[in-house]
């Protein structure tokens, strides 16, 4: 049996007194890849932020268990230290903090141990090469002045350097051109296949999934997980849209 990694139970989440998620439950085992789809405003990013511990998203009911530990009340840094990661839909810019200094600091804090600089530099260079990133970006300020595509590559760079057990990718492919999607996919594939990392991929498109093996697909509509299927569901949704799930959701609500 697969090793249990994440158990989300009946999660209710509010932002400023508006409930956005209503009783969401989700299980992710080690090494599995789950795809989360749904129409705009369904609460996909809300789920991502909540799992990562954004303090603006209040858990009003339910629980999140990660690696056997209830982390519902833990802050984002503690969750990251336990092996969670969120690739942001819109990565933040931090002027004056270089990407390499940031990564080094994150690795130190995450592990609580000193990082060997030489090995770090080497790994950083290799990973940047894999992602077709200009090596000079390592010494540039974090995300400052980067294009949307470069920012997403920088997110995947962080994913590969920080080696989490579970990563949420929030629309990592949105706004990327074909080449950039391919590059980013290669990075995610590296994480998934060579390192056995688990994934929750929030996406609107199939492009990013082509290189990945998907275990489950979930459909989120109006704050509720209304359907869970296999990898074939992705193509189905792409062909037919969310209409039938929305109808089902409305019917469910009436009952």
């Amino acid at each position: 049996m697969a090793e249990q990694l994440l158990q989300v139970r009946n999660l209710n989440v509010s932002v400023e007194d508006t409930e956005l998620l209503h009783g969401v439950s989700l299980d992710v085992n080690a090494g599995e890849t789950h795809v989360l789809m749904g129409p705009n405003g369904a609460g996909k990013s809300t789920l991502g932020y909540t799992l990562m511990g954004n303090p603006a998203y209040h858990v009003t009911g339910g629980s999140i268990v990660f690696d056997g530990e209830d982390i519902t009340g833990l802050s984002a840094d503690k969750r990251a230290q336990r092996g969670m990661f969120l690739s942001f839909q819109t990565p933040l810019e931090v002027p004056g903090l270089t990407l390499s200094a940031f990564l080094l600091s994150a690795m130190r804090q995450k592990t609580g141990k000193p990082v060997k600089i030489f090995a770090f530099q080497k790994e950083l260079e290799e990973t940047m090469r894999l992602l077709h990133m200009d090596p000079s970006f390592a010494e540039r300020d974090l995300n400052v002045g980067l294009s949307g595509g470069e920012k997403k590559k920088a997110e995947i760079l962080q994913l590969l350097m920080l080696r989490p057990k579970f990563a949420i990718l929030d629309e990592t492919d949105s706004g990327l051109d074909v080449d950039a999607v391919r590059t980013v996919s290669a990075g995610i594939e590296e994480y998934q296949k060579k390192r056995g990392g688990a994934l929750l991929v929030i996406t609107h498109s199939t492009r990013i999934l082509e290189a990945l093996s998907v275990d489950y697909t979930h459909v989120l509509v109006k704050g509720r997980l209304v359907y869970t299927g296999g990898p074939e569901l992705v193509d189905d949704i792409n062909e037919h849209g969310f209409e039938r799930f929305e109808a089902a959701s409305a019917a469910e609500k009436k009952q």
Partner: protein, 466 residues
């Protein structure tokens, strides 16, 4: 290098303090000619300086305190002589040094002997030795680097007399007049024509010297084509029993010379810092200020540069961090007189825990300053809703042929950015410190490495202190 404390006690100081017959304890009565005369006696002032002090005293007694900036009500002007008196190295007791300052010493890793010296309770320590070595090294290049008293009475006394308080006249404001009357300690530097001083000179060593630190005078002359970097202060808080600092810095940058003047001021949090700094730049000269203001209760600090010569240039890079109970009014002034002069002001200010940080600047382009260029950029970061940040830039342009620009940004630390860093395993306090350090980075990267590291430590410390 082992830090050995030199347990040398200067008897004259104690004699001086105990000498009640000179009316020295009549502190309630303000500053008198007697007290100023005492200072002249102690320093063996030449006649011109003796007269100068009395002239300044007269001005001081006639002038009123500034009423346009942060309140200095906490400064008891009626007891001004008590502030003046304690300049003569009044030794306190280590037990009386506030814990906050002791902790800062601890966290900055300052050796015990230095801590005691900085806290004004210890005797001088072996930085004196470092200072002397430095003095010898640069002397080989013909550079003069001495304490100010030595300069007034020594070989270069004529030069001192020619330049002293010409750039900052005592008529400027009440505290400049006070400074003229009671100045004590400081540095004199003369760099001869064409000499490039390779290592930065640091007044840090001098600050620990007797009597320096409250009314110190710094006079630097960089002669034609010469080059110098001078560093003032250090990141440890300098604690004095009395809480007024009215120093004066006069910088002369001659034709085609360059001077970089870096400061990290971290006075203890009870200090009223009313400091005056000014530079005069001749043709083709280049003045660079790097200024960090962290300490003090109230600061008034606006280094001024007069771009007198054609093609002269000045850059000012500054950072101010106002925490709890601090009201720091800082900025810069640029006065363009020569043709094709250029100036750049780039400042950052941070306010936290109810601190007030005000950026105040003035750029004046005189009619003669054709084709002058001036740019002002100031950014403020408020770390909470209790703190305040104001921007008061002034520009006076008297010629049509000038190019001036101004940009101001005021912002708060973004919760989203904090969450972003935290999602990578970085603690909340560390995330905030990283964002603030990043904001300060354009300034810290202008500092020598060890000072940049100290400044970052200082920011971290300020972030930790609630």
């Amino acid at each position: 290098m082992a830090k050995a404390k030199i347990q040398e006690v200067d008897r004259s100081l104690y004699d001086f303090k105990d000498d009640e017959s000179h009316g020295f304890y009549r502190m309630e009565e303000g500053l008198t000619a007697d007290i100023v005369g005492q200072i002249s006696d102690e320093k063996h002032d030449p006649d011109w300086m003796r007269e100068w002090r009395l002239y300044c005293l007269d001005l001081y007694n006639q002038m009123s305190v500034p009423d346009w900036g942060p309140s200095i009500e906490g400064l008891d002007m009626d007891r001004i002589s008590s502030y003046v008196r304690s300049k003569s190295d009044m030794k306190g007791d280590w037990k009386e040094v506030p814990d906050e300052i002791k902790n800062t010493f601890e966290k900055l890793g300052i050796p015990q002997a230095e801590r005691e010296s900085l806290a004004g309770v210890g005797a001088q320590y072996d930085s004196e030795l470092v200072y002397h070595n430095l003095q010898e090294d640069v002397a080989k290049q013909g550079v003069v680097y001495t304490g100010f008293e030595e300069a007034v009475t020594g070989e270069y006394s004529d030069m001192v007399k020619e330049y002293f308080m010409k750039l900052v006249p005592p008529t400027d404001h009440k505290f400049a007049a006070l400074h003229g009357a009671v100045w004590s300690g400081g540095s004199f530097v003369y760099v001869p024509k064409g000499v490039h001083v390779e290592i930065p000179l640091q007044s840090y060593f001098r600050l620990n010297a007797k009597g320096a630190g409250q009314f110190e005078h710094t006079l630097i002359i960089v002669d034609e084509g010469a080059d110098l970097h001078f560093i003032e202060g250090c990141s440890a808080p300098k604690w004095n029993v009395a809480n007024l600092h009215a120093g004066c810095v006069e910088l002369y940058v001659k034709k085609n010379a360059r001077l970089r003047y870096s400061t990290i001021e971290n006075w203890s949090k009870n200090m009223y810092n009313l400091n005056t700094k000014r530079a005069l730049v001749e043709e083709g000269g280049r003045m660079e200020w790097v200024s960090g203001s962290f300490g003090s209760h109230v600061s008034y600090l606006y280094p001024t540069t007069i771009l007198k010569g054609d093609h002269s240039h000045c850059e000012f890079t500054g950072i101010t961090f106002a925490g709890k109970g601090q009201n720091l009014d800082t900025g810069a002034k640029m006065i363009h007189i020569g043709k094709d002069t250029s100036s750049f002001i780039d400042t950052k200010s941070i306010s936290k825990s109810g601190g007030i940080s005000t950026y105040r600047s003035a750029v004046v382009i005189e009619k003669s300053a054709e084709n002058a260029k001036a740019s002002v950029s100031c950014a403020s970061l408020m770390l909470d809703s209790k703190s305040r940040s104001d921007t008061i830039p002034a520009m006076t342009v008297k010629t049509n042929k000038a190019d001036v620009g101004h940009e101001a940004k005021i912002g708060r630390i973004s919760d989203e950015a904090v969450f972003y860093l935290m999602s990578r395993g970085i603690s909340e306090s560390e995330a905030r410190a990283m964002i603030v350090s990043g904001f300060a980075n354009p300034v810290s990267k202008e500092l020598p490495l060890e000072y940049a590291a100290e400044m970052n430590n200082l920011i971290r410390l300020e972030m930790e202190n609630g």
